[in-house]
């Protein structure tokens, strides 16, 4: 499709030399001198357009050429020349003083291509206004014999101007246009356009007589002409009906605010408009009542002719228009609701009309309360069947999620199913993450409630599993019979087998509340192991970290201590219970570390509460090797208790750090000596194990920070319970001895080893003065008040200097 030839054409166009270009211009001017234009001229114009559009920077044509093109545009009756000259002029700078004459003679036709140029080159609002005025003059006073297309594009042109500059139309203009819209919508002819006879010589008078317009299903039209009416040919006002209906919603939306004080569209006109809209809805409803016969017809006629697509398109538009009309004038709700309700009744059982049902849901949401209608069934559809069965429809997903975003406040208030429906809503994300992750970034905070927080966390972590399951579900539908020859997927077999059905069904559940997660999660992960390289699953996995960040940032605002404690244990538990996708586990660990830290900073007492879990985690040496990534490189500025120390911290053990930092009486009075001791012993055991031998085969050596943070944590704990000091000192001096012998199996880099040993020595010398150690390693809160750098008695470096005369004090501050 896109070939090397095209690339080289573009290159040539871009790199054309100025001299060659000027020659080309003069040749073209000569070609445009005559009256007749042949293929060569057309060809040159096409090439000129390519040259001009190939660069970002706008060229200026020589004035003569520009004038010629302009006159060609305005005077030629050959559409190709109009189109080409308009296209060329749009890519160039208009010459000053060359602005198109806005006040054209009302009789001369304003062709679409001229209008396009005008619109692209208007320099100011006043130009636009005068252009509008001219358009409307021609609209009002056109002669009946005028060329058909001259007025047909007036409405699209107006509409495009409205998008950016609604104030270009005066009140009078708005009234004029509104009246004309009503005319066309309500009173367009219901007879077929005679139009051109296609029979040549042999058309008799009989074939020239147009009959009445018919509906899509063949029945003769009622009293209205609508966009769904068909005929052999169409009259001009029928075309205007189409254009009017096409812009109606935009018109109503733009001017309903303008018409605040003065009834720009007075009530008669408004009800005319509404009447015609309601007629479209009922016309289409009656057509849809005849759907079964339509199916039969469809077998005979090509699909394009009787496609329900145009039906759906009109229904969507009609419902939206009704909605905005009712929003503005609540008294119309009672008239419109029965119509919409009837439509809902006919369409709700057929999922192929899902996209029509969304605007209907919006209507219910906006007006259901006023009309005292029960909307339960609608929400069952929107939060139930749609996500569960139509998750793979990209357009429905986009529209449904947009619906949620726009109505978030109302939904949270009036539709309790919303927050419980996240298992279903997440299916959109699991299926097509890149397309909808942005929407979920906006929606996720609203789905985080205290009641469902834990279940939501599990669901987010298992999003890749859900993704794999949805793939399996679809595959299972398309290939219900197992493929012979054993080429089938293991996971697909598992999906179908009754033994594991329950696991998958849990993932596919529609509503929250039946349990946070399943017991046999690890089984599920094993069954889905082969899915870890499916592109869809990988794409999904890439979005989970972002969503987790949002989740945690939100959950701290709604959770109490108990829930936060529970979440910490979920974090610890799940860190080893994730689908094994490359990089996924690492990323999740990183997110966990960041937020575990934040949680502990926020509620230090959690550390004591969860000390058992944390200890268990920290005390499992295996975690040093497999979850070193969990807590890698957290750079963070601590402003806890006004401490202004920048701590660069990277290790498996921020948890360890956390234990060291927060397990103190100053943070929580429940912190007893026994607790400190038990914590100490757990960490001590790990440190011994890590520094006594090489890591188990297959695992990397722990980073130096792991060792130093363990040592620091032990030192801190010891400083709070002085009985422990001898044990630490003993270890540290042993460490110095061992490392003097040269290399050690647990550290490969000599520089790192030196750093570790130096740190050990610093801590050892600090612990020789227990009270100093205590004040350095566990400074009382008032030390960190901002004035510390001004208060000579309190300033940390000075205290240290005073106590120890240690020239290395600055480093101690920065290597906790």
């Amino acid at each position: 499709m896109y070939s090397h030839g095209s690339e080289s054409l573009i290159k040539q166009a871009r790199e054309i030399q100025e001299s060659e270009l000027q020659k080309f211009y003069s040749r073209l001017v000569k070609q445009l001198h005559g009256r007749e234009f042949g293929h060569e001229t057309i060809d040159s114009l096409q090439r000129l357009h390519l040259i001009l559009s190939a660069t970002k920077y706008t060229r200026t044509l020589p004035p003569e050429l520009q004038k010629k093109l302009l006159s060609l545009l305005l005077s030629s009756s050959v559409e190709q020349l109009q189109a080409l000259s308009s296209a060329v002029l749009r890519e160039t700078l208009p010459l000053s003083g060359q602005e198109l004459n806005y006040n054209q003679d009302a009789n001369s036709s304003l062709n679409s291509h001229t209008a396009a140029l005008l619109l692209s080159q208007t320099g100011s609002r006043s130009d636009l206004s005068s252009f509008c005025a001219q358009l409307l003059r021609s609209l009002d006073s056109r002669s009946p014999e005028g060329p058909a297309h001259s007025v047909l594009h007036t409405l699209p042109i107006l509409n495009t101007i409205l998008s950016h500059s609604p104030d270009c139309l005066t009140e009078d203009h708005v009234t004029l246009v509104s009246k004309k819209l009503v005319d066309w919508l309500r009173y367009a002819s219901t007879q077929q356009g005679g139009g051109t006879s296609s029979g040549g010589f042999f058309t008799g008078p009989r074939s020239r007589q147009p009959g009445p317009i018919a509906e899509l299903d063949g029945t003769v039209s009622g009293d209205f002409f609508t966009v769904l009416c068909v005929g052999q040919g169409f009259t001009e006002d029928q075309w205007m009906n189409v254009y009017s209906f096409s812009m109606l919603r935009h018109w109503l939306l733009t001017y309903h605010t303008v018409s605040n004080g003065n009834t720009t569209v007075d009530t008669d006109d408004r009800s005319e408009v509404d009447g015609s809209v309601v007629s479209v809805v009922s016309a289409t409803s009656s057509s849809s009542r005849l759907l079964p016969p339509k199916e039969r017809l469809r077998e005979k006629l090509p699909l394009t002719l009787l496609s329900p697509l145009s039906l759906c398109q009109c229904l969507v538009e009609a419902v939206c228009i009704l909605d905005s009309v009712c929003v503005e004038d609540a008294s119309l709700v009672f008239k419109a609701f029965p119509c919409v309700k009837g439509l809902y009744g006919r369409l709700s059982s057929d999922l192929s009309f899902a996209r029509v049902l969304l605007p209907i849901a919006q209507f219910y949401l906006n007006h259901g309360e006023m009309a005292a209608v029960d909307c339960e069934c609608v929400w069952k559809l929107v939060f139930g069947r749609f996500p569960a069965e139509l998750f793979s429809d990209a357009f429905l997903a986009h529209e449904l999620l947009r619906f949620l975003r726009l109505n978030l406040a109302t939904l949270q208030l009036r539709v309790p199913q919303y927050t419980r429906s996240f298992p279903n809503l997440l299916k959109f994300l699991a299926w097509d993450s890149p397309a909808v992750v942005d929407d979920f970034v906006d929606l996720l905070p609203s789905l985080v409630t205290a009641g469902t927080a834990v279940e939501l966390l599990h669901s987010l972590l298992d999003l890749p599993c859900l993704s794999a399951t949805l793939v399996l579900q679809l595959r299972s539908t398309y290939f219900p019979i197992a493929e012979p020859g054993g080429r089938g997927l293991l996971s697909l077999e598992a999906f179908r087998s009754p033994t594991y059905r329950g696991l998958f069904l849990f993932l596919l559940r529609g509503e929250a509340g039946s349990g946070d997660t399943i017991d046999r999660l690890s089984t599920l992960h094993q069954l889905l192991a082969e899915a870890s390289d499916w592109p869809r699953v990988i794409q999904c996995a890439q979005t989970v970290p972002v969503l987790l960040h949002i989740y945690f940032n939100t959950v701290v605002t709604v959770a109490d201590e108990k829930l936060l404690a529970h979440l910490i244990s979920v974090l610890l538990e799940r860190s080893s219970l994730l689908l094994n996708i490359p990089k996924y586990v690492k990323e999740i660990h990183r997110v966990f570390s960041c937020h575990l830290l934040r949680l502990c900073k926020l509620r230090p007492s959690l550390v004591v509460d969860q000390s058992h879990e944390l200890l268990e985690f920290a005390g499992t040496t295996a975690n040093v090797y497999s979850k070193e990534e969990i807590f890698t490189h957290v750079v963070w500025k601590l402003c806890v208790q006004n401490r202004d120390i920048e701590i660069i911290f990277s290790s498996w053990g921020f948890q360890v750090w956390v234990l060291g930092e927060y397990l103190s009486v100053s943070c929580d009075s429940r912190c007893s000596v026994a607790l400190i001791t038990s914590c100490f012993e757990a960490l001590e055991a790990v440190l011994f194990e890590v520094t006594s031998s090489a890591p188990p085969s297959g695992e990397a050596r722990p980073a130096p920070r792991v060792i130093t943070s363990l040592m620091s944590a032990l030192a801190k704990l010891a400083s709070r319970s002085h009985d422990l000091i001898p044990r630490v000192s003993l270890f540290l001096s042993k460490l110095r001895t061992v490392t003097r012998g040269g290399s050690v199996p647990w550290c490969s880099n000599e520089e790192d080893l030196v750093a570790i040993v130096t740190r050990g020595e610093e801590l050892w010398s600090l612990l020789k003065a227990p009270s100093v150690a205590q004040s350095v390693l566990t400074p009382p809160p008032h030390v960190n008040t901002p004035q510390w750098h001004r208060d000579t008695n309190v300033a940390m470096p000075l205290r240290l200097y005073t106590h120890t005369h240690n020239h290395d004090t600055p480093s101690l501050l920065f290597h906790t």
Binding site: M1, Y2, S3, H4, G5, S6, L9, I10, Q46, R47, H49, L50, S53, Y57, T58, E79, Q80, A87, E91, L93, H113, A116, L119, S120, Q121, T122, G123, R125, L128, H153, P156, I157, N159, T160, H164, S165, V227, C229, V230, F234, W239, V242, S246, H250, L306, L309, S310, C312, Q313, V316, E317, R355, F395, E399, R402, D432, P434, A435, D438, P535
Partner: protein, 194 residues
């Protein structure tokens, strides 16, 4: 309102980096946007924004094709309907400011190595926009012989202009039942035959 329509590459192009896209045709509708800028500044702004959109669609197409795992089947001239049926399709949300001032919905169709993209305002009737995009694409494929190796899209852009003037005049989406559509398509066919 439709803000713009563009045709661009969604396959790797040798002269560009992997993520970039070559815009082969673009048309911005709407008047009154960027009135405070000079015409050349406005044109540059439009070009840059559309390039940004093309890149995003390129990436979306690549991800969608990856995820679906379907093999791209080459079709030949004459198989336009098949090519359209096989096309990937989707819709993106562009936040306000990225790069348009307001939020936009971007509908796209990926037909082998080319993408056909419609940038719409989000409250627009997307069902209608989708249908219009498919229709436009089918006509482009047919009338510009795009399934062949030709570079007609570059040199015959007037055909696309005329097509747009009938099916999407000044960015207005039209509710055309099959009869109205037939009538317009006859006009288009007559133009293309010349």
């Amino acid at each position: 309102m439709v803000h713009s329509f563009l045709i661009h590459t969604v396959c790797p192009v040798s002269a560009l980096s992997a993520a970039e896209s070559r815009v082969l045709y673009s048309r911005v509708f709407g008047a009154g946007e960027g009135l405070e800028l000079r015409p050349d500044e406005r044109r540059l702004l439009h070009t840059e924004k559309l390039l940004a959109v093309a890149r995003q669609v390129r990436s979306a197409v690549a991800l969608s094709r990856d995820a679906s795992g379907r093999v791209l089947v080459e079709t030949v001239p004459g198989e336009e309907v098949v090519a359209l049926q096989e096309a990937d399709s989707g819709v993106l949300r562009l936040r306000a400011g990225e790069p348009f001032p307001g939020e936009m919905s971007v509908l796209w169709l990926g037909v082998q190595s080319l993408g056909f993209t419609l940038v719409c305002e989000p409250h627009e009737n997307l069902l209608l926009a989708e249908g219009t995009l498919r229709n436009l694409t089918r006509h482009c494929l047919e009338h510009l012989h795009m399934l062949g190796p030709g570079s007609e899209v570059l040199l015959r852009s007037d055909r696309i202009d005329v097509l747009l003037s009938r099916l999407l005049p000044h960015g207005q989406l039209l509710f055309l039942n099959h009869r109205f559509a037939q009538s317009l398509e006859k006009e288009v066919a007559a133009y293309m035959a010349k």
